[in-house]
Symmetry: C2
Subunit: 384 residues, 2 copies
């Protein structure tokens, strides 16, 4: 695990922003990159063709969910997750730690792992660091995540410290298992930095994981309901400790302004359900901030969601039509909205990449954030 | 309304089957043809691109539904229904008569028309023969249908006779209004033959409508819950009265065996919600009859729905994956299932067309019906 699969390319002179290339068995990923979330082996409402057309480079899927439905063994028999969902490009799988702590019932946690009841049928399951690696290898994931303990956003420093020690032990066990079991030397296991809202614990976590030498570092436990400024304060406390030659992945962030800001803080990878979830609720991104397509002011608005947008939805359909589809509860509306919102964030990150390479990122960031005027009281995306 | 827009091509020597071409302002339709149903200005779960790819030649939409949501005036302002739903090919609109009689509450019917309450919000509406024409002209439909009275499947002969007189008067009024108001000489208004399950009333209806000289004849009030053989018995009583040079449209039929049988009886056009509705329930067509994709026997079935099927779903996805999507209530499953079922019926009708032209239709029909072995106790499609 030498980190050779990541090559840093440009580095912005005025911010921490950078571009890079991450090599996987299923293709090269240009960073910064946004990863659409395909929790249950599908990015909701979209086919692989739809994702390709909007320039998706990698999707995220979820071990917790896939192991309950349909089961990682079934997916292995199908030839792996790429084959099962007909997605030929890279896949990152989340470990399921976050879901165990947010969805499952009757958790019992020990140093060995966690037992819980399925949120679907109450059936009992156990996850250990080794088992979580094995499941992701059954899926044939390109980038794996270790099991980690996720504490609540208002946990005390002492609670977070104890939890952190367990997460670090699990990271070491995960790496051990991964090195023995992986099928392909191009597969990667990232480390996950935890530490709650406490800068000194974040520093401790970063140093501990660095000593284990992972090919990439994820940042977990942020974007879980805290205020936006809190997120950047915590990030600032340890981001410069991370090596330049490893990708950094901020889990669960996808609000447009946050993508641009966090890229400015040196983040390379993102995932979030927000673009697709908001789309299904009728909340659509524009450069001037989100609009709700259900609003009566769109009844006779025969213009696209955003003039100049190159997405498949804006090429053909008007706000009046999209509003009608939502009012009539037509599934096509959810699909067309999802195409627009995902295209918006993928395009935004693509533009950041171009501006970093051209040395114009800082100004682009400033202009974008000013124009977007996002609702300041809004919490950052809660879902990883 | 000279019927010049339809040209009969081949005629099968052993059955009543025939092929033809119907010219509209939005392109040529080859018959026999199946029309996917886009009730609310969308064929459920599918985009215009999806419909194009599977070879859809014409879609059906519904005046009753569109007038309640979003309103025909809104669609007119959008530039018409083709523009509104981004569908460049022909559109046939149903008059809404069937929906008034099956969905709406507190109907009151007179010789002038029908008043009813919306099934959505209880608001009061009135439809007259002239208004129904005007609404369809607002939509910019290629083929319009007149308001007709739909009696229940078990109505007495006397009830049907009285209703039929009203339907005929309305047909004459509709034609009058249409000739004065239509924007484009290529637009067509079809007549609808009613008469319940009574052969002599069907003959009377056919003769009455023929005297009004429509460019096409629809057959309404069949496929409303009667047994399959009943449908063919009634059809047989009057089909030979219809002129060879006008298209014949059997409303609400879409079960695969019925498509093939009715083509053999000289029918040229079909519509039915069944392919898409069944798809959303997991019932998928195959040459050997329908399968339910939710069935546990598909958990580890890594083959397509049907080997050799050219649809976009069978090209990429397995039954195991489609089953998983249905179990996980993923919208993508409804979409992929709909693509398969619609492709199946469109392809079936296409094959019938080819076999009629090659003079091999009778044998094709026999082989198909034998292989399909459809469940005989099943009622024919209830929904027009």
């Amino acid at each position: 695990m030498s980190g050779m699969s990541f090559i840093r390319k440009a580095h912005d002179a005025k911010t921490r922003a950078r571009t890079g290339e991450l090599q996987t068995a299923h293709g090269l990923i240009e960073t910064p990159v946004f990863m659409p979330v395909g929790t249950l082996a599908t990015v909701k409402t979209l086919s692989p063709d739809d994702l390709m057309k909007m320039g998706t480079e990698i999707v995220l899927s979820n071990t917790y969910h896939l192991n309950l439905r349909p089961g990682c063994d079934i997916i292995q028999k199908a030839g792996g997750l790429h084959e099962f969902m007909a997605w030929p490009k890279p896949i990152l799988t989340d470990s399921g730690g976050f879901q165990v702590f947010s969805l499952a019932r009757l958790r019992s946690i020990t140093d060995l792992g966690v037992t819980f009841q399925s949120h679907i049928d109450g059936s009992k399951h156990e996850l250990t660091p080794a088992k979580v690696i094995d499941l992701q290898l059954q899926l044939g994931s390109d980038i794996l995540m270790p099991l980690d303990e996720c504490v609540s956003h208002d946990a005390s420093q002492e609670e977070v410290r104890i939890s952190l020690q367990r997460t670090h032990r699990w990271a070491a066990l995960s790496k051990e298992r991964f090195l023995v079991q992986r099928q392909d030397p191009s597969q990667m296991l990232f480390g996950i930095i935890q530490g709650g809202m406490f800068p000194d614990l974040r520093v401790e976590s970063a140093e501990e994981l660095l000593s284990l030498d992972f090919p990439g570092y994820a940042i977990g436990g942020l974007s879980v309901g805290e205020e936006r400024d809190e997120l950047y304060r915590v990030l600032d406390s340890f981001i410069d400790l991370l090596p330049e030659d490893r990708p950094r992945y901020l889990m669960g962030v996808g609000e447009p302004v946050d993508l641009v800001r966090a890229i400015g803080e040196g983040i390379d990878m993102f995932d979030c359900v927000m673009p697709t979830r908001n789309a299904r609720n009728g909340s659509l991104f524009t450069r001037q901030g989100p609009i709700n397509i259900r609003n009566a002011r769109f009844i006779e608005d025969f213009t696209p969601i955003e003039e100049g947008c190159a997405c498949a939805t804006c090429q053909k359909f008007t706000k009046a039509y999209l509003r009608h589809l939502m009012q009539a509860q037509e599934i096509l509306g959810l699909h067309l909205n999802s195409i627009h919102n995902l295209h918006f964030v993928l395009n935004l990150v693509r533009e950041c990449r171009e501006h970093i390479e051209e040395g114009t990122f800082e100004n682009y960031k400033k202009e974008f954030c000013k124009e977007y005027q996002s609702n300041k009281s809004e919490k950052v995306c809660r879902s990883r």
